[in-house]
């Protein structure tokens, strides 16, 4: 067993930390207030290679491993969840799906420009009436010759108005039994006729992030844009979540760290009863818990990353890490606010933003309730992993780093 990060991990972590701290942190509060994405974030993440961090070099990426992806997400969410959400949808839910399920031609056409950051990508499963239970989705895809005609509406979609490529799920067979076998995955592009997008306003958190809706009206999608086989969409959607949840959990680890670091600083500066509040036992307890949550959440995430590197199935471990890390990030943010007193209740400090951001992550990519059902079902033997037609490749440094 090996708990040390490699030199490569540490240098990549430091580089992303410097970028996020120096370029984004100074103005993030402003963009959060405006409910607008920081305009430099996506182009800079593209330019620096962050968007393709763990895509093999042969597909335009940087060829780093799955652990690095988690470290990057931690650093990004240390500054703001909106930065990490980009990694979740662009890298975790979309690019890795292409790596796992895409044909070589699809990898060239979609994955390469996504990894280089030339194109941005998202993932659209949720609909106005289908979230936790996506089998209930209503979007349809009707085959007509060489195209599928897509109709339907997607809701709560990150980067809806910014992504060029969107992985959408629709029913090719609304009468399939069991129902989930009627779902198929497609890559649509924002410039396709019949695609309209818009932003959702009034979010509690991730305000510097883009979240929106997508309407598809008779959108003609070429057969070559179908990802996987007809009826395989549900498996694809769920396998994507193994990677998306990983990034969400890793981000939550960054949020807990933010709470801890800010609390440690404030506890030493703020005096009550003639001593820094850090010297009161009840304040120490808050700090101790934050440290505990941080360490435990991080270990769970890195374990999931290790499994990914090994090419081992990690659905359960990733779901557990995501559940624990996101729930604890909410607790950490609440404690951080409490520790900051009235100042924590004000947007003068960052901790209230951490709470608003953290809450979202216990809802998206499988709510905490859904994560609990998953864990219980594994433990009770109601749920087992079955091999997939295409598995996510494990990390083989030689193959990932060579040009071809």
């Amino acid at each position: 067993m090996e708990f040390e990060l490699t030199e490569e991990h540490r240098m990549a972590q430091q580089m992303v930390r410097d970028f996020a701290q120096k370029e984004i942190y100074p103005t993030i509060k402003e963009w959060d207030h405006k409910h607008q994405p920081h305009p430099d974030v996506l182009p800079r993440m593209a330019e620096l290679g962050i968007l393709g961090i763990n895509v093999p070099v042969r597909y335009g990426g940087q060829g780093f491993d799955y652990i690095t992806l988690a470290l990057v997400c931690e650093e990004l969410e240390r500054v703001d969840a909106s930065l990490r959400v980009i990694m979740s949808v662009h890298a975790g839910l979309n690019s890795l799906a292409l790596l796992q399920w895409g044909t070589e031609e699809q990898k060239q056409r979609f994955l390469v420009p996504q990894a280089t950051g030339e194109k941005y990508a998202g993932y659209a499963l949720t609909e106005p009436d289908a979230g936790s239970d996506p089998v209930r989705l209503r979007a349809t895809a009707r085959r007509e010759g060489d195209v599928y005609v897509l109709n339907g509406e997607k809701m709560w979609i990150s980067l809806a108005t910014l992504a060029d490529h969107m992985l959408v799920f629709a029913k090719t067979d609304p009468n399939a039994k069991p129902e989930y076998k009627g779902i198929t995955a497609f890559m649509i592009t924002r410039d396709m006729k019949g695609v309209t997008v818009g932003d959702i306003k009034g979010k509690m958190g991730v305000r510097a992030g883009s979240t929106g809706w997508i309407a598809m009206q008779d959108v003609e999608v070429p057969v070559e844009n179908r990802i996987g086989e007809e009826g395989e969409g549900f498996y694809i959607a769920m396998s994507c979540l193994d990677n998306g949840r990983y990034t969400v959990g890793a981000g939550a680890v960054g949020c807990i760290r933010a709470c801890l670091e800010d609390s440690v600083k404030y506890a030493k500066e703020r005096y009550t009863f003639n001593v820094p509040i850090a010297q009161h036992q009840l304040i120490k307890q808050k700090i101790a818990y934050m440290q505990q949550w941080y360490d435990a959440a991080r270990l769970l995430i890195l374990k999931a990353g290790w499994l990914k590197n090994q090419g081992k199935r990690n659905t359960r471990e990733t779901a557990l890490a995501k559940w624990f890390a996101t729930d604890m990030s909410v607790k950490a943010a609440l404690e951080a606010i409490q520790l900051h007193g009235a100042y924590g209740f004000s947007d003068e400090y960052d901790v209230e933003r951490y709470l608003r951001n953290a809450k979202g992550a216990t809802i998206y990519e499988g709510s905490s309730e859904i994560q609990q059902l998953i864990q219980a079902d594994y433990a009770l033997g109601y749920r087992q992993d079955r091999p997939l037609r295409c598995e996510l490749p494990g990390y083989d440094p030689e193959w990932w780093q060579s040009e071809n």
């Binding site: 030199e7 990549a12 580089m15 060829g63």
Partner: protein, 255 residues
């Protein structure tokens, strides 16, 4: 064209620095790349991009300074060399200059040596100008901009920040430059560079490799011990009445 950057690690400016009972300096934090060197490294990479220059990065110090070399490699330097020898322990600026000048000589074809403005931990830049002197090259200190560089003609034109304003100077190459923060926006490492740096082997050049002996670099002065500054003590007294304030200041011989 061959550019050499000289770098070192220094304690973080936010680090707690204290002196222990034995008179040894204790720095609580890990070392960081000298922030001034970030500009020198970036400038070298800009020269690499503009003139296809080869960039070597050198440090003088123990293994803890390899961090700075790796940082340089990750940004795009082509090779990294660490100069170290037990005889350099407790080096002074002249010993530093002698060893670095010898290493530049060993590289052979260097046209330009870049330094960050100073070593912030000792707030000194003597080693930079002593290196130029040892090499017999033109020293160009406090450079805010390299305005023109012609490797073929062997000339350089720079803008220097001087007390009275700025000064534009031309010089023949080879030259030794110290750079200021205005010169560029420091680059981040690239991921490809990080991978290269993590795998790179960095040779260590000893005094023997440089054709120097221990006597040549023996420090002229020896540091015996550090001492903490005496704690400043003071109290604040608010005096509202201006007349009383003046009396008080006169009494304390402030005015």
């Amino acid at each position: 064209m061959h550019v050499a950057v000289i770098t070192n690690c220094t304690p973080d400016t936010a680090a707690d620095v204290a002196v222990d009972a034995g008179g040894n300096l204790k720095v609580d934090d890990k070392l960081v790349v000298n922030p001034w060197d970030e500009y020198a490294i970036t400038e070298a990479i800009l020269l690499k991009e503009a003139h296809n220059a080869q960039v070597s990065i050198l440090t003088l110090g123990g293994p803890e300074h390899e961090e700075a070399l790796k940082h340089g490699l990750a940004i795009g330097c082509d090779q990294a060399i660490r100069i170290w020898d037990d005889a350099l322990q407790g080096w002074d600026s002249l010993a530093f200059a002698k060893a670095v000048a010898a290493a530049i000589g060993k590289l052979g074809d260097v046209d330009l040596v870049l330094f960050g403005k100073e070593l912030p931990d000792i707030a000194s830049d003597a080693h930079i100008f002593q290196t130029a002197r040892k090499l017999g090259w033109t020293p160009l200190g406090f450079v805010a901009k390299i305005e023109a560089l012609d490797p073929a003609a062997g000339t350089i034109r720079v803008k220097r920040q001087v007390e009275s304003g700025t000064e534009t100077v031309t010089s023949r190459l080879p030259a030794v430059i110290s750079v200021l923060k205005d010169i560029n926006e420091p680059k981040y490492p690239t991921f490809i560079g990080i991978r290269k740096a993590a795998k790179a082997s960095m040779p260590v050049w000893s005094l023997a490799d440089l054709g120097l002996d221990a006597a040549a670099v023996a420090p002229k002065a020896k540091r015996l011990a550090y001492q903490d500054l005496p704690k400043r003590e003071g109290a604040v007294e608010m005096i509202d009445d201006p007349a009383l304030l003046v009396d008080k200041l006169l009494e304390e011989k402030v005015i």
